[in-house]
Symmetry: C2
Subunit: 229 residues, 2 copies
DNA sequence: CACTGCAGGATTGTTGACAATCTGCAGATT
DNA sequence: AATCTGCAGATTGTCAACAATCCTGCAGTG
């Protein structure tokens, strides 16, 4: 920013906001596994607050789709079955494709630089063999992709999806993947954007998502539209 | 649907849910205009409930992006400036394009039928000169488009966007538009999907959104990326 | 032996009151 | 005259208790 502004804004995050963030992270990284029931009283005691702010926090997570609320029953961490995971990646494909196309249409050089930088972070993480860092860099790459499009709404929707993505990755922690491949796919995405080839980019994203899906749902092929509300 | 299910589920909507819906509608249709401050105490009294459930309801609206919360200041109905409206339609374009492409890829005949039906509803509304009905049918068409893709996440994100869209339409109530054009654009969209031409469809949607934007922001052309945090 | 009805225990949904914070205005000061 | 200080009023943020609802297990009955 151009204005100096020597002091940071004082901590103005609401209690509910703090709790929301902590719970979200706990869910993301599997400390609260899928299906776990969240007891308001227990959590409130743990956080050292009353049930009011805690309720507010959980309601936010419900709206984000991370927590499922059954009336008078309780709150449960959402479980992602194969169908859900497919939907998640379909939604991500939609958002990220749109973001990339926007970047290409606007010929945003800054976005290309940011993506290259994010890509290089992945590369060095892969070289040093830090798999956790590589995973982080991977997610970060996709966040940069969407945020570069400059659409607050797209970005907000994407953030929610990325939290769920992290849940998936946490779930298959321990599974292995060739870091080379992982980096190469992102290289293709980056270069497609850099060269301004919109269709090549869309194809690369599509393939990338399919790749991820195949790893997450080994057996799953078709979505069988039979039981389809 | 095929399963009979002779009884509807008993009314199990929480108080907060009811209030959320009412507030949302009030905002959508301009009964609570942009910038209006929402007083918790006043609203709670009007709804005849305590501040607890009401707070829960407003929090949901905040997360949906319809209401802006300033800490210790109050809640304000969000105002959509030109930049926001552009973003809104960009996001809609992203979602609806993705939905249509999915439908085309899966060759969903049912979706084509549903779209044709929605299109015909627009047509008859246009012929009878019922502009409000035409407007409703228009929004319904886009909802059908997205819901036909069968992606819960896409649909949920789209619903939020459609509420904001309705806000925009409410704002320019009284402005006129040739119903013929409006219907024709949706005809092009429908036929592009029916014929399976993915790129033609994307073009039709793009153009449709641009058309709407031009009407909403008469002077606005470029998004000037200068002040772009 | 299977089904129905009911209390026990626990959880959520709701309420009204209390505390912290912000805005705007009156009054004092330079 | 302009600016700063402090108070009043109003609003939100938080809390602990009350009421309604739901699940579980057991006794009773055909």
């Amino acid at each position: 920013m151009s204005s100096p502004q020597p002091f940071k804004r004082v901590n103005r995050e609401s209690t509910a906001g703090l709790i929301t963030r902590q719970l979200r992270e706990a869910i993301m990284f599997g400390r609260l596994g899928p299906g776990t029931q969240l007891s308001e009283a227990t959590l409130a005691a743990e956080f050292g607050v009353s049930r009011g702010p805690l309720r507010e926090a959980t309601q936010r997570l419900v709206q984000e789709g991370l927590v499922r609320a059954e009336p008078h029953r309780g709150l449960f961490v959402k479980e992602l079955d194969a169908h859900e995971v497919r939907d998640l990646y379909a939604a991500r494909t939609a958002i990220e494709t749109a973001a990339g196309r926007t970047i290409i249409r606007q010929r945003q050089q800054r976005a290309v630089l940011a993506l290259r930088s994010a890509y290089e972070a992945m590369q060095s993480a892969a070289e040093s063999g830090a798999l956790d860092d590589l995973s982080d860099a991977d997610l970060h790459f996709h966040e940069v992709l969407v945020s570069s499009a400059g659409s607050p709404r797209l970005q907000r929707m994407h953030q929610t999806l990325m939290v769920e993505t992290r849940m998936c990755l946490t779930a298959l922690q321990g599974t292995y993947r060739d870091p080379e491949d992982q980096v190469a796919e992102h290289r293709r995405i980056t270069e497609a954007i850099a060269s301004g080839d919109s269709d090549a980019f869309a194809g690369a994203i599509e393939e990338h998502m399919q790749e991820a899906l195949d790893r997450l749902i080994p057996g799953g092929r078709s979505a069988d539209a039979a039981t389809h509300g």
